[in-house]
Amino acid sequence: MAEAHPVGFQWVMEAKRRGAKVFHVDPRFTRTSAVADTYLPIRAGTDIALLGGVVNHILTHELDFREYVLAYTNAATIVSERFADTEDGDGFFSGFDPETNSYVQDSWQYEGHEDDSGSGHTADERDSAAGMRHESHGAQVAGQVRRDETLRHPRCVYQILKRHFARYTPEMVERVCGIDREKFLELARAWTENSGRERTGCLIYSVGWTQHSVGVQYIRTGAIIQLLLGNVGRPGGGVLALRGHASIQGSTDIPTLFNLLPGYLPMPHHADHPTFDEWVDSIRHPGQKGFWGNARAYAASLLKAYWGDAATPENDFCYGYLPRMTGDHGTYQQVLNMIDGKVKGYFLLGQNPAVGSAHGRAQRLGMANLDWLVVRDLFMIESATFWRNGPEVATGEIVPTECRTEVFFLPAASHVEKEGTFTQTQRLLQWREKAVDPPGDARSELWFFYHLGRRLREKLADSAHPRDRALRDLAWDYPTHGPHAEPRAEAVLREINGYEVATGRPLSTFAEARDDGSTAVGCWIYAGVYADGVNQAARRKSRHEQDWVAAEWGWAWPANRRTLYNRASADPEGRPWSERKRYVWWDPEKAEWTGYDVPDFEKTKPPTYRPPEGAAGPEGIAGDDPFVMQGDGKGWLYAPSGVLDGPLPTHYEPAESPVRNPLYRQQANPTRKVYAHPVNSVNPSPPQEHSQVFPYVFTVSRLTEHHTAGGMSRTVRPLAELQPEMFVEVSPELAAEVGLAQLGWAHLVSGRAVIEARVLVTDRLTPLRVDGRVIHQVWLPYHFGFQGLVTGDSANDLFGITLDPNVLIQESKIGTCDVRPGRRPTGPALLDLVADYQRRAGIVAGRPGPAVTPGAPPPTRAADPTGSDPTRADGTGTDHGDREGRDAS
């Protein structure tokens, strides 16, 4: 955090000054480690084992915040008797379908809900990254659930959790993660001791956590700990994601993503959502409790904002105009389609995939096979010049005179040359004023897309093609100003906020959205940012003139709420858990919720409220159910649906690992998304043969002085001067083993590429003893490329493409490689070297290796409600110490 988010880190230092203990877990010793109380070096890719160890510590010693856990989580809920755990299935939950390598979730459901909850088969959801829908709300639960308030029922969530993590002992943490058991216990003790009624503990992760084939489950494990300890919805608690771009939260809320529409409404699927009603019902689930019950109003109001007068209740608000998903249309699938010649044109808007995305060579080969490419950026980035300067030109794979891609480079306006809002990592919108005009041809995206749309509509004004109607009917009338006819950003913000169609009055809250066409709302979760016609995101009341919550600085979604689910900061009766941790509470005299923050609860619903039988929507949420966006109002220790690779997190090894999974015969996440494309490959891992060809683990992250793919930092003199060269950090032990000299050269080889870097020998990296052997890890910055003031080989070239099944994010925080002294070969000899490694490792292009580990036959599908679960009876998982090929090296 001190490296990549230094100014945010000042608050960690403030907390430390007030007595907080700071623990830092990272494969590499960084500036954060330097000021932490305790630093724990970890083997990359083993966080679930570490955090699972903490869960086990809590449950073994009954250190959970019992009142909170009983009242606010699903710990007491009884799960179906058809559910079988990975502990009984040697790495598989019940319901695994080996034909699609995905789960049928029926057996994961709460008892009595096997057939009416969950999403059934998850293969389609994986393709559409459906897990992302839950960024604003949980998955559904219908009706009432069975509970055991004593937590003794063998199938209550609490007991399932206890059994699931029972083997995640300090000894196992040491064996899997390479973390000394005493250091682990120091962490576990500090975390539990700093949680409860009087104290809260905070978990901060940077989004490297998401870049794993089990990334979502990493975060789930953190959330389980925080729920068990009562650290959610309370001040000083939470699971905080440190995201890496100025408005990456905004571009997820108002998504430039294939599978979502604004406000986490799903993009329709051709088979699942043929009509508007079916689409809406798939979101709101009639009979469902919680605030998602109003989804029809959000959906209708979005379409009204898109198609204006043309959108009416009679034509389902032009629902038919929306494009339909049929499967995976994510960025990696797109790139493979580009290589196969299926994509004509490509826009790059401030993103530089030639450097910043996994498998850089695949990215560049894809871009070299387009009809046309539009690059909009501040600087001449690698993704604009790959056809003349890229590494494939040197190897002869791209020949400029044979490369057909037509390239348009359009200069973009910088953040000071336009006005608009960024949404930062805690959902806070901040308006930026414009300082100066953009230079020359530089324009904002607002300008480019408004005028592109205007021109398209002019050209198609007389078109009779049905496909052009959605463009012709589009509500595309924004006021402009200035010599370049720049659209007014505030007019767009007003549309995002939403307004009453008849009067133009901006909405104050999303509760005012209607499903009859009388309101238009561009992004329902942002409703209120333009309340009363005032740009609330532009508020800049000084921190000296308001309290520590600073509610009048910018505007946070939803409803300017700074801490989500803050009803949980009070006890079930509505009283603060403690005076120290007072935040939001029930005022019995005024009969309303009050506090420092905007209460995340219906303002006048008393703690004693109990829903009438069969109540749906917000009415179905009891007065002591803080998690109002969840179907049962509870925080989910166990997720019966919504997460595609399991209701509980389980340790799997990364897709590329030198280590055999010490916990299960199944080696890696069996549901991970793999692409069998000739350009893609995965280095072998045990128990596959030849994993020793790539004996070392590499991981990547950011330098303080550079930003992502370097387009905004390797082009800036002071920053280029501070970090002028690509380098690799290696431990003294590895340097001795391989023969690397300080400040000399090394090259790293994977099944995809070979890159070179200067050597930095440092004890910031330390060899770890894992399962009886020594594992070396090396670290690389991923900022370098071949354009800019300072250049170097790109670390992301080393990675193949393997994705998390929930959100289709690639595993790019860990891979395996070989490390060799000296510079890499150049020209065709470079390709020969990679080919030689592929041959030695037995890599066959386009055959990424089996998802189900050989020797770990998956349990047969357990979806048959009449049969017993075969995973329980077949005796798998009895002997974890006797595995074929465990010591592959």
Partner: protein, 189 residues
């Protein structure tokens, strides 16, 4: 200059006798530094802004004169950053005023080995024509069972996390209306 004036002008004397015993303010000032004026004072205006790098959202004050950025400083009012900026945020002025910034349209024809210049208006028009052609070539009305698809898989877009919400909104709206489904950004990586 008399002796008294000379002594009184001596920084150590001023430090010992004046209101600046630590010698970090008035006592250390020379005649030359007394005449200097901060760029922030001569600015035409100051824009309240936000750092463009990571997602912490540090407040920036952007000072400008004659349509040029003259200084970018941390905003001390911000409850997020309290006036601080990291090395990248502190380099924002160098970012926006960098001589390496590309300020004109560049165009590379198929199979060409060099860039050419192109008029911005012409470029936007050419791009619009290519979108229309790509849609015509790759449009899918419906699937094999006659269910609507209304889309093209012939157009892709990547990027958005460095852009404004208002920009992402227009991008998504326009691409959705043109049936272009394959829209992605940094949140996927």
């Amino acid at each position: 200059m008399g002796l008294r004036t000379f002594i009184e002008g001596w920084p150590v004397y001023r430090q010992l006798t004046g209101s600046d015993p630590l010698g970090r303010g008035a006592a250390a000032q020379s005649a030359r530094s007394a005449e200097l004026t901060a760029r922030t004072e001569t600015a035409d205006g100051v824009a309240r802004s936000v750092c463009p790098y990571c997602a912490v959202g540090c407040g920036q004050r952007v000072f400008h004169a004659d349509n040029t950025v003259t200084q970018i400083e941390g905003d001390p009012d911000s409850p997020i950053s309290r006036g601080r900026l990291c090395p990248k945020g502190s380099a924002s002025k160098s970012l926006v005023t960098s001589p390496l910034r590309q300020t004109t349209v560049r165009y590379r024809r198929p199979y060409a080995t060099e860039w050419e210049d192109l008029d911005l208006d012409v470029a936007v028009d050419m791009i619009a024509d290519r979108i229309i052609a790509a849609r015509a070539q790759t449009w899918e009305d419906s699937d094999s069972e006659g269910r609507p698809l209304n889309r093209t898989l012939g157009i892709s877009s990547l990027g958005g996390a460095t852009l404004d919400n208002e920009e992402n909104y227009l991008i998504k709206k326009l691409f959705t209306a043109m049936g272009a489904l394959q829209i992605e950004n940094q949140a996927r990586i």
